[in-house]
Symmetry: C2
Subunit: 337 residues, 2 copies
C-alpha cells in the first residue's frame, strides 16, 4: 500500500489540491479561495479539498504521508507556527482590497493543519517554484539559482550554495517589493503601500496601467512594431533587468529562471533583459545565465509536491515527468465544503 | 605544543597579519599592500608576513594550523581556486585607479597559498566580518543576520537560516553595488563604473564629494545644526535605509549590524535609519533590529580568525575577548620582504 502526497496551491483567487502516488498525479480539485467566515476558513478549505481529492483518487486520506503547501504570502510567525498575512487574502491588514469580506490579520495555516497530517511543509509560491525548478525543471543541479515569477505580481525564490533561503519568517526573496528608485516622487504605488517597488513598475497590471491595454495586447503591438508598446516593453525589461542585477549583487546567483505569464514572451524579453543586465558590474554579472521556466504551467501541482516528495521518487519523476499527464481538474462550486 | 592560527586582512592600502594561540593574539604585523611585480606578489607578501609574525611570536610557522583571509574583493574562480579581481588591487581590470602599478587582472590568492598551509579559508572582508560578529560580536546566536560596513566602501555579509551566503564565486552581498535608481541620469558614478549604486550615494567619499569636506567634518557640522550638513546626513541615511530595506526584502534578516567608520556616528544615524526603514512594507520590516558593530576596531584580527578558529576555542574567546589585549603592531617598510 503506497504512500500519497498532497500538493496544495493557495492563490488569492483559487486554491488547487492534487494528490500523487509514486506513479503520478492521481486527482486534482480546485475551488475559489475562501475569504469569509472565521480566520481558520482557509485551512479548513485546504483540509476539505485534500479529503475530496483523496476521494476522487479512491484512497483513504490517512494514506497522505505529507502535505506540501505553496501559497501567497507574506508570512508571520505566531507562537512558532507559520501564518499567512497576505493582503490579498486577509481583509484586516488595512489594504481594503476588493472582494475580501473578512477582517483577518492572519490565517493560522500551519497551526490548523499540522495536527491533521503527519507532515506539513509550507512555502511562499515562488520559493516552492524555485525548489521545483531545481528538482525537476530548468535549474536541475544548480546550487546558486534565482527563480523569479513575472506575472500579476513579482516574486522570487533562491538557493545560495545549495541552501534554500527562507529567513526569519519565511519571507525571503520578496523581490517584487524592492525599491527601484530612492527618489519616490511620481513613482507608482505598489499594492503593499510602497512606492517605486519593482512589482509596481513591471508586473502585468503595471504594464496594463502604463499602456491602457492588457499585457498580451501590449506584447502583440510590440511585435508589430508599434512605437509606444515597444518603448514600454523595453522600459519594463530594463527595470526588471536592474532588479535582477540587484538580486544577483546580493546572492551571486549563477542561473536566473524566469516564469509567470509575462515571461511567456521570452523571445522578446530575454535579449532585452540580457542587454541591460550584462551592463552591470562585470565581476558580478559575468557567468550568469538566463533561462525560461520549464515548469511554469505545472507549478500548481509540482511546487507544493516538491517540498515534500521523498528523495527516492525524484529520479523516476525527473525521467517520466508525470506532471505532463495529470488528470482533469475537478472544479468545485464556491459554497461546497 | 599548541596550535596557532593566522588571520590575514588584505585591504587596498595595507595588509595585516596576526597569529593567535588559544590564549590570544601573539603577534601582529602590517605592511602596505604590494601592487607591483608579478601577480603572485600579494600571496607571496601574505606568506612572508605570516612568517614574520610567527618569528615575532617566537614560533615555527609549521605550527600554523590554518590561515583565515579576510580581503577586498570581488573574486573570480580560476580552475576552481579563488582569485582576487579587486579593482583597487588589480591594475589590469580597466579601472586605471591611482597608485596601482601593475596589469594584473587577477591575484591567484588561493592557488598560491593553499599548498603552503594545512588549510586556507578566504572570504570577502564584510562576509568574514559577518562571521566574526555572529561568533563574537553583536550577532551572537542570530541565524538571520545582515552585517553592513559603512565606510570608504559599502559592503555586506549575511547569514540566512544560519547559513553563511557565499554564492557561485563567493561574491554574495555586494550591497554597495545595488542600483538605487533605475533612472540613472544625473546619478553619481561608482568606482566600479555603474551609476546610482548605493556606494556611490552614501559612502564616506560620497559624503565628502556632496559636501566638500571630510565626513567627520560633515557630521560635526550636522551636530552643530548646520542646515546643509544636516540635510545631507538625513539624505544619506534615507538612502542607506532604503538599501538595507532592499536587502531585508530579499534575505528576511532579523538583525542588521552596521560597522565601518561612517557608522561611528551611530547616535545620529540609527534614529534616521530606523525612521525610514520601518516605513517599508510592514510584513517585511516588522521585527527587524538595528545594532552597531561590536568588533569594528578589531575586525582586522578577528574577521580572518573567525573563518578558521576551532569550535573548541570559541566559548573561551567569547568570555575572555582576548582581541582587546592584542600586542602592538609591527609596521614593516614597503620594500621589506
Amino acid at each position: 500500500m503506497g504512500r500519497y502526497f498532497a500538493a496544495v496551491d493557495i492563490g488569492a483567487t483559487k486554491t488547487t489540491v492534487s494528490v500523487s502516488s509514486r506513479r503520478g498525479i492521481a486527482a486534482r480539485v480546485y475551488q475559489l479561495t475562501r475569504k469569509s467566515g472565521d480566520r481558520a476558513a482557509v485551512p479548513r478549505q485546504v483540509d476539505f479539498l485534500i479529503g475530496f481529492a483523496c476521494a476522487q483518487a479512491g484512497i483513504d486520506s490517512r494514506r497522505i504521508a505529507a502535505v506540501g503547501i505553496s501559497t501567497a504570502s507574506p508570512f508571520l510567525k505566531s507562537d512558532g507556527f507559520l501564518a499567512l498575512a497576505a493582503p490579498n487574502i486577509c481583509g484586516g491588514l488595512g489594504q481594503k482590497l476588493e472582494g475580501i469580506d473578512n477582517d483577518w490579520t492572519e490565517v493560522p495555516l500551519e497551526r490548523e493543519l499540522s495536527g491533521r497530517y503527519p507532515r506539513v511543509q509550507i512555502a511562499n509560491d515562488c520559493v516552492s517554484a524555485a525548489v521545483a525548478e531545481r528538482t525537476f525543471g530548468a535549474g536541475r543541479g544548480e546550487d546558486d539559482l534565482l527563480y523569479v515569477t513575472w506575472s500579476t505580481g513579482i516574486g522570487g525564490g533562491a538557493f545560495v550554495d545549495g541552501h534554500l533561503l527562507t529567513g526569519k519568517n519565511d519571507n525571503a526573496l520578496h523581490l517584487g517589493h524592492i525599491v527601484m528608485n530612492y527618489h519616490d516622487d511620481g513613482e507608482p504605488l505598489c499594492g503593499c503601500g510602497g512606492r517605486a517597488h519593482l512589482e509596481a513598475l513591471v508586473s502585468g497590471p503595471a504594464i496594463a496601467r502604463d499602456y491602457g491595454a492588457p499585457p498580451a495586447e501590449v506584447f502583440r503591438r510590440c511585435r508589430s512594431g508599434e512605437p509606444a508598446a515597444t518603448a514600454l516593453i523595453h522600459r519594463v525589461a530594463m527595470i526588471m533587468a536592474t532588479g535582477l542585477y540587484n538580486a544577483v549583487a546580493l546572492l551571486d546567483s549563477r542561473v536566473i529562471i524566469v516564469g509567470g505569464s509575462v515571461s511567456r514572451n521570452w523571445d522578446l524579453l530575454e535579449p532585452l533583459l540580457a542587454e541591460e543586465f550584462y551592463h552591470g558590474f562585470p565581476a558580478l554579472t559575468g557567468g550568469v545565465e538566463f533561462r525560461r521556466s520549464q515548469l511554469d504551467r505545472y507549478l500548481g501541482d509540482v511546487a507544493g509536491l516538491s517540498l515534500v516528495m521523498p528523495e527516492s521518487w525524484i529520479a523516476e519523476w525527473q525521467k517520466r515527468e508525470p506532471w505532463r499527464r495529470a488528470p482533469e481538474t475537478t472544479v468545485l462550486e464556491p459554497d461546497m465544503s
